[in-house]
Subunit: 265 residues, 5 copies
């Protein structure tokens, strides 16, 4: 990890509070935030415009350090994780996953970010919003399946993150709860073998953007993740996806410092 | 609320006449305008181009103050509400909701706005137009439902605004009036629990843009709003939406002064 | 109406020959042109690029006057009507409706326009081409309906113009002529109440662009126009529209002088 | 062949060798090339960027003359026809139809073109590639139809050119050969009355771009061409078009000299 | 092959390690890499921006040589093949096919590339990712078909490369394994006659981008390739392609030196 000359103390704080893989106030805090219902998650992706590279190296370093100060200020309201999409996605260079109790706080962070000298060169390419909720179908699952779902996944942050937004068709929502429960049980059964290798997280989007769900994945084993998606394509519930991806966002989990350094270089 | 140096009087006028949350000639006037049939509502969203930020701070302050003068001039013909979409929508930075008795007046406002030094940096990203009309189905609803619909929603302006345009399929329009009435009664029943937390307003668009309806929502509780949309997805009428969203526009209700200040900073 | 300093004579000619509401060589000539079969109609919409506003005011005035000279030159071959879309459409700032006996003449006008100092700042956003033809179904309608269709609409140019291009589905074209006649009779019956308030004109597009028809409307009463479209959505023929709008273009009928002045200001 | 400074003689040569309507090494050569199977046809359309017009007139003249030299060099490998789309298509300003025995030669021409000072201002908007093949269905047609198809169309180059790419649906390809033959016979029957007024040429695209066919038309009578497309929309084969147009490209056949002069002016 | 003045040694290395047709550490190594399962393949396409051409010739030569140094550094982790799409595809000028054991290595290469003075002028237009896997259906094929599939294709690198991404419909994935096996056997039978002329390679994409498969082809005979695709369109499996192409990418296999030289010129 690189330290910025002249902003050492700040950098130290930032590392603790926000950076992707390094956000470790405590691992427990992070897990709690990722598991609590009623939290808003925003996936915001950006492209760096071409003018950025016309700035002098010094101007880029100054611009980048401004971002760190900003994030420190807002760290009591929002939790920000950063991802490098550049080189893996044609949509965007950077993605932030922002968790907050109110989207107004997320908006404050993102507008502040866009107002920095760094942010003025960012072009927003997609914003997805979702809400975390208690599992809707799990209470109706068989006990063994519930136990299986509680098995801990491998410790540590995974290298790759993939975001797949989903819109269900009208027929899905018209199904009665029992039918949906049965379909989701089949879906979950297909996913069980991958619980350990692939961390999943679900956000509910209806009304907050053009999707019904945002599915978020982290894994070190992309081939296992691919097999998981293949398995999910083969269950009946998959037929009710009117849109699946478009965009599919893929990147690597990265401390913000790494990402900023890439653009300051 | 900030006051611009040297334009105090003007600012005072503007606050009274137009700003988003602050537009309170009287709450009754506002409610009347929002409830009268035969009014045209335009949702106009804009992105600020990147050149804007190359202007000096002083030039931006001057440019912004020009907008305020303009809005004051036109305040007898159009009512303008402003929303900050930046940080929540990838489509746009700012949205105006303009109510007028004639779209020619709305056009005059928007062309004047685009002609200001501020407006020359705005890129129009979507214009939606609709007409307010008397409720088409409510007269056929049961009396209890009519009473429920009259229950006042919580006082005050809500923090978040969401705009979802809708295009119905041809089958919807081919249904006879009684069938549509029954479907709309089911739709309304599903929405009743959210009447208090979420304010709704309907605009009729057929022919005025590529949609049939524009649905506008205001709420302080986005989770309740999300639950409302989920409930509406589960009724039979939802199957007749050929397009729902695309774009879904989300922002926060803001006085114009706040928004302008953000871009002058 | 403003007159440009130093180009008085020219302006005078232009007013007579081309301007939107002012094109009145004689009202009879205009009506004839709008009613004759075998004429090509082109709807060309343009956005003004942002560089335009970086020109000095003087440079803009010179650029604009060049357009007037051009239109005068070509006025014996094409009839040009102008519309202001700015402030009502996110697609475009200006629309020209060009009628000519040959599209090569229309092309000559538009390439000449684009070659002026004004035109070099125009970005073409959509070109729609259609051909006027004798009414295909009217001869088979009942006599009363034919009489009704001949009733004159209100005199004078209407304020608003709306263009809705349409693509029919393959099933439509596969219907036999009698079935299509019956469906068009139902369609026409639904439109009759709006004959007076809304002027309509039909262009046939198949092969000339990606649509089958361009429908053009003029009205002072947008609410009546909206009701007309609603009525047309409810007849069986509407189910055979594979695409309806996309884009829907709305603007106000304006003399070219007014539009040019707006951009010279 | 041609060399620019001092240019008159040279120009004369160029007109003979490459220009759109004037390419007449011999009419027989041209016809042969247009009729031989196993030739690749590429339809490449370009927009001129706005920076072009910021060049001085002299710089534009120099840039344009470089193009002529290039085309001369490559004239033994590719045959290039040029079309002016500006003023008729919102997609593009210029289209080249390039015939070659190998697409590598076409690529060499187009990359060379893009590398000229003129070409650096061109933005490629669509490339369509197809292969000419022997008629697949004609051998199975009745003798009279075969005779009709051999009737010569009117001599001379037609003024207008229209390109409509087509993608068939999966059902089309799943039909057996006899059924497709019957459908194509009906299609051809509908087209017979227009053989004289509209020249047609078919390219096979599957795998070479996102379409299955490119249909190319030349005509002086656009109304006849429109009637031809209308007739083709009414036969059963039309139901198997998953995509028809999108884009539909329309322009006028023009010698390259005319087109280049338009941009040099 | 051109050699860059002053970078002779480097160039020599580069030729050995990476260039498209020239990558020949040994032909066996290359074949192995192209045939092993568990390898990630990325198809990354780029457009050169227009500012590039405003650089001096010298600046372009320096920028280009930086790319070569970079590729040499990373040659132990990724294998890079280069393709010229310019002049054949409207999507892009250049395509890289990158094979790596981890997408993080591919990302490192591409971000490094984008960070060079050359790369800062590249606009990413599409990234497709896939995983190579053991053949899923071949083990169930008849022995004769297995033997046929092992027949060697013509030696040497083919001139043209075509990439067609595919998304299957939900019905495909819902079929049982035996039905899919039968359909794939029919598909393979149709492809057998083209084994010699067209090299094929399959990548599995589900979850890694918006497709299920990426099919990659190399051939010297584009007409044979076209016939192959036509043959594949006529088997029943084709009906299960929800998306086929969009984009279809076509280019010529080229040593990186050739491509870089084209942009340095």
């Amino acid at each position: 990890m690189k330290v910025w000359p002249g902003v050492k103390t700040t950098t130290l704080m930032v590392v603790v509070l926000v950076a992707g893989t390094a956000w470790t106030a405590t691992a427990a805090d992070r897990d709690k935030l990722l598991n609590d219902p009623g939290v808003y998650g925003t996936f915001a992706t950006f492209q760096m415009d071409h003018d950025w590279w016309d700035l002098t190296g010094e101007a880029r370093v100054i611009a980048v350090s401004e971002v760190k100060g900003l994030i420190e200020q807002l760290s009591n309201k929002v939790v920000i994780e950063s991802y490098l999409l550049r080189g893996l996605s044609d949509h965007a260079d950077v993605m932030f996953r922002v968790h907050a109790h109110a989207l107004a706080d997320t908006q404050q962070f993102l507008t502040s970010l866009l107002g920095t000298r760094f942010g003025r060169h960012l072009v927003a390419t997609s914003y997805l919003h979702g809400l975390t909720k208690k599992a809707a179908y799990v209470p109706g699952f068989p006990d063994q399946m519930k136990t299986d779902l509680k098995a801990p996944s491998e410790a540590g942050t995974k290298s790759y993150a993939i975001v797949i937004p989903i819109r269900k068709d009208a027929e899905w929502w018209a199904l009665d709860q029992d039918t949906r429960l049965a379909l989701m049980q089949e879906h979950t059964q297909a996913a069980l073998p991958y619980l350990n290798a692939v961390k999943r997280k679900l956000y509910h989007s209806s009304g907050l953007d053009d999707f019904d769900f945002i599915t978020y994945f982290e894994t070190e084993k992309l081939d296992e993740f691919h097999s998981l998606i293949r398995a999910l394509e083969q269950v009946k519930e998959y037929r009710h996806n009117r849109r699946f991806g478009h965009p599919t966002l893929m990147g690597t989990v990265r401390p913000l410092d790494d990402i900023l350094e890439l653009f300051a270089r």
